[in-house]
């Protein structure tokens, strides 16, 4: 029988807090890249608003899209970075030989990601609204389901990415970083999904962020948002989260069976 202890899950968060507190190299990435993105895309939208004669406001469509996409990426990386800290410090043996369970460990990674991605979100909102006038009122209350769907999907992708690294070994972290960039073209972050060829639209249908960005554009265009589409994307994100956690647990079980935890750095699976 496995019992869940918040104290044990909390120890994973505490470890991450200790690491961040004492390291500029960990503090800066929490907000530096997203701040750079906001500034770059902020000026680009300002320029586009100036040169195009259309009534379209690029700030909520482009800058808002970048903000939401960066939020998803930060949530995902919040999970994987917390996991990779154990990879980098070769801590698996100590960790998994303790009473810590996989649900507790994953909960700790998720809570760490909430802590780190919230910092990035606050900085992005401050820059986007303070400098470039992005108003979240333009999205209305639907901003919350947007953020929630992207958060859940980000967590799911982070857990899957951690499972990939656990399976393939430390060097496979390079599979993890490009995941948001690979998903972005399908998710229709900057353009309507109808722009894509049919097969890419089929993939987009299975990606929760696609519905979020489609809905976002509809709100800005003054069109009605499909509640069904939003419910689909939210439900899909939850399914991915459950699947991701199941995959991680399976990979961990495999790692225990073949001895991967005990000799992780040997990268015996390739």
């Amino acid at each position: 029988m496995t019992t869940f202890s918040w104290r044990r899950a909390g120890s994973v968060v505490l470890r991450q807090a200790y690491l961040i507190r004492g390291s500029l190299a960990r503090v800066l990435p929490l907000f530096a890249w997203v701040a750079t993105d906001m500034i770059l895309w902020g000026f680009l939208t300002r320029y586009l608003n100036g040169v195009t004669r259309s009534a379209m406001d690029f700030v909520p469509t482009l800058l808002g899209a970048v903000l939401l996409w960066d939020f998803f990426a930060r949530v995902m990386q919040g999970v994987t970075t917390a996991f990779l800290e154990d990879v980098w410090s070769r801590n698996f043996l100590n960790l998994f030989a303790s009473p810590l369970s996989i649900p507790e460990y994953v909960a700790g990674l998720v809570a760490s990601s909430i802590m780190t991605s919230a910092i990035g979100l606050v900085v992005m909102i401050a820059l986007a609204s303070g400098i470039f006038g992005l108003s979240f009122f333009s999205y209305g209350l639907l901003l919350f389901p947007f953020l929630l769907t992207l958060f859940v999907f980000g967590i799911a992708m982070g857990v899957v990415a951690s499972a990939i690294v656990l399976w393939f070994g430390p060097a496979s972290e390079w599979f993890v970083w490009p995941i948001p960039a690979v998903i972005a073209p399908f998710a229709g972050v900057f353009y309507p999904v109808s722009t894509l060829p049919r097969w890419m639209q089929a993939v987009a249908f299975l990606l929760p962020p696609a519905s979020v960005f489609e809905s976002m554009r509809r709100i800005i265009a003054g069109d009605a948002v499909s509640v069904g589409a939003l419910a689909w994307s939210g439900g899909l994100a939850l399914i991915y989260l459950l699947l991701g956690t199941w995959v991680f647990a399976r990979v961990h079980r495999h790692a225990v069976r073949v001895g991967l935890i005990a000799r992780y750095s040997a990268e015996t699976v390739s």
Binding site: R7, R8, L14, S89, L93, A97, V258, A262
Partner: protein, 263 residues
């Protein structure tokens, strides 16, 4: 973690109360390669059991299986009557370990590492416990030093402090004195002997230092090619097998070809 709950559990018939660890018909195979072949042994309360054997004999594989980080191909392991596979959390809450190949994260300070592992093991009155261990292992001046900057001997002491955090019923020590100078190694041996003598606990100890095994362990298992070849009092074993010392016996056993049934 209380001994009373353990006693209650043991009384239900899960394991004899005097056994801290029970290993039964344990096997680990990787394809055709047999790392551990049908071994059985137990650790009693107040006992320090030494496992010795040449490199690749299966010592660390056995310890990894006891710690639940490696699944056996067959066989069972119980710690304080709890099956490591079926009741992993309860079993591991009664155990802890220190090994040269499992240093604590070098990017955290000694105190931070002990706090995190104290939370993981559910240690009560953690602050007080950490203070006591810092003093016991002479680590007070390193409390705010990152573990990665410590000497290997100092890191070993931190690992030992972590291993004692939850006052485990079963203490697994894989070459715990390998990086220590003779004086520090002597202190560690004394501390562990005292821990086993004054508490209802058992210790499983691996070492390549035969003098240490002779001096510290009440009983020793000679493991080779995943099999237990000899078992007995390390002070008596050499004479019983016609050897001058435990070192000589080790060499003789290590050079023995793989044959016969495991004991």
């Amino acid at each position: 973690m209380t001994h009373s709950s353990t006693v209650a559990r043991v009384a239900q018939g899960d394991a004899p109360a005097h056994l801290v660890l029970s290993v039964s018909r344990l096997c680990k195979q990787y394809g055709a390669f047999v790392a551990v072949a049908d071994i059985s042994f137990a650790v009693q309360r107040h006992e320090i059991l030494g496992i010795v054997g040449p490199n690749g004999a299966g010592k660390t594989t056995t310890i990894n299986m006891i710690l639940g980080v490696l699944a056996p191909t067959s066989g069972s392991i119980t710690i304080e009557g709890y099956d490591v596979r079926a009741e992993r959390q309860r079993a591991l809450a009664h155990a802890n370990f220190a090994a040269v190949y499992a240093p604590l994260p070098g990017n955290l300070t000694v105190e931070q590492n002990l706090r995190i592992y104290g939370l993981l093991y559910g240690v009560a009155h953690l602050k007080r416990r950490i203070e006591a261990l810092l003093e016991t292992f002479d680590l007070g001046r390193f409390r705010r030093v990152k573990c990665g900057t410590l000497s290997s001997g100092e890191q070993t002491r931190v690992q030992l402090a972590k291993a004692f955090l939850n006052e485990p019923s079963l203490l697994l020590l894989d070459e715990p004195t390998a990086s220590l100078d003779p004086s520090a190694a002597h202190d560690v041996r004394e501390r562990i002997q005292q821990y086993a003598a004054t508490n209802d606990v058992g210790v499983l100890w691996t070492s390549h230092n035969m003098r240490e095994v002779e001096e510290t362990c009440h009983r020793a298992l000679f493991l080779s090619h995943g099999r237990i070849l000899l078992e007995g009092d390390p002070k008596q074993l050499p004479r019983e097998h016609g050897q001058q010392s435990l070192d000589d016996l080790f060499i003789a056993v290590a050079r023995e070809p793989v044959s016969g049934e495991p004991r």
